[in-house]
Point group: C2
Chain length 253, copies 2
């Protein structure tokens, strides 16, 4: 097992998520992508370290893409790759990378076939969805064909949740994945304020096992969920065991 913190830290794959869209910031649309991306990345051993939501403004998107792609192993984006004038993500990402962008034959062909089969009119607006920055890999969209793409370490996906989800699955094959972050959770019928001292003391002795406490109310009574996390199953089990003993000794478990 990896009891070497140095070795573990080398295996950490990080990511940020950039959600693009005025409609999320105005409250008109309720985001459903953040929690899905968070769950998926946790499942495949990639640590989501930051999320940002920005409006459909080129300067904002370019600045956020360049800051976040430099900082994390991967940057995922959602939103802004449809056919209308407010869909400016692909062009903004091309600008962030200082590369050109144009209709991509790999994207266009299946889209034209899909349109023909369904009798959908080929409009200049629809053709915009085949615009892909030079040098990008396509990310398949098995629902409505118009693809996402991966350029460098940036994965650009649709905003519609169902389409985003198939793109995220499709993109996963391009990704390095790390050791899965494991977790253990204990629910207690005790308020946070009573547990804090015991819990904080344990955290000090296990600095490599991040611990969080999350208060809840059930049937009008306060409780707390204690969560321990580690990529090392042995360290996680040791910390969990100590915590359970400390709680049991106080009659709390």
């Amino acid at each position: 097992m990896n009891n070497n913190a140095q070795a573990n830290s080398e295996e950490i794959i990080t990511a940020a998520l950039l959600v693009i869209g005025d409609e999320i910031l105005s409250g008109r649309t309720k985001d459903k992508n953040i929690s899905h991306v968070a769950d998926h990345l946790t499942d495949i051993g990639i640590r989501l370290k930051e999320v940002r939501i920005v409006p459909d403004e080129e300067a904002e998107i370019v600045a956020a893409v360049n800051e976040l792609r430099a900082r994390y192993t991967y940057l995922f984006t959602t939103g802004g790759i449809g056919p209308t004038h407010d869909d400016i993500t692909a062009d903004s990402v091309a600008k962030a990378f200082s590369v050109g962008i144009d209709i991509d034959e790999r994207a266009l062909k299946p889209m034209l076939a899909y349109f023909e089969k369904r009798g959908v009119e080929v409009t200049p607006a629809r053709l915009r969805m085949a615009r892909i920055p030079f040098g990008a890999e396509l990310v398949e969209n098995t629902i409505s064909v118009a693809p996402g793409f991966m350029l460098g370490n940036v994965i650009v996906m649709a905003g519609i949740p169902a389409v985003m989800q198939v793109m995220l699955d499709a993109a996963t094959k391009f990704l390095k994945t790390g050791k899965k972050m494991l977790s253990a959770a204990i629910d207690l019928n005790r308020p946070e304020g009573e547990i804090a001292a015991v819990f904080g003391e344990l955290q000090q002795r296990y600095p490599d096992v991040p611990m969080g406490s999350y208060p809840f109310y059930r049937d009008g009574k306060p409780g707390t969920q204690l969560v321990l996390r580690s990529i090392d199953p042995d360290r996680l089990a040791a910390a969990e065991n100590e915590l359970k003993m400390a709680l049991a000794a106080r009659g709390w478990l």
Copy 2:
């Protein structure tokens, strides 16, 4: 009415929201605060321009607080003001402002009264919740008493949605509010790709009325919601009227 873009732009009050918590980034907890804050700010005429989610790490919180408070009229934060070791928001905000922090009598007194009344033990961990940066105004918590605070243009609130909501209501009295952003929405049983040309052309003639289109599927058929936004009711009505005429002329309405 305000048809003067200069005068309007002077009235724009902006905000960012900083969501603090490992549990959101890991997917363990589903955020419920972003959409509530977005709705509330839109209602009171404050424009939410950016949201960030960062982990419970002091350096991350301090950097985000300092960047966002400099950039927007207000910065709201949620999460990390409970009693446990991972609750570091108040200390991080004090550090961002380079001010001290200590137990605040204004916060402590009602908390002690509340604890006594309910027979809740006064622990050092619970007293931590009375730590308020020097110079801050308290933001009342009518649910569980431990307050939020406002320091400069930064409003610090709890992460538990019910508590966050009463704090947001309480903080609103401290805020300058702008002209409410008005919106008009039209649902069409047409896919985005067909509407894009007409819609984009209208946007060009109304650069002061931001327009967005949001695809949806109902009963397996594609549709699009077109949304126009302005703080000026006359401009909004004029753009909406032109859009309806253009759609009706094509038999789409």
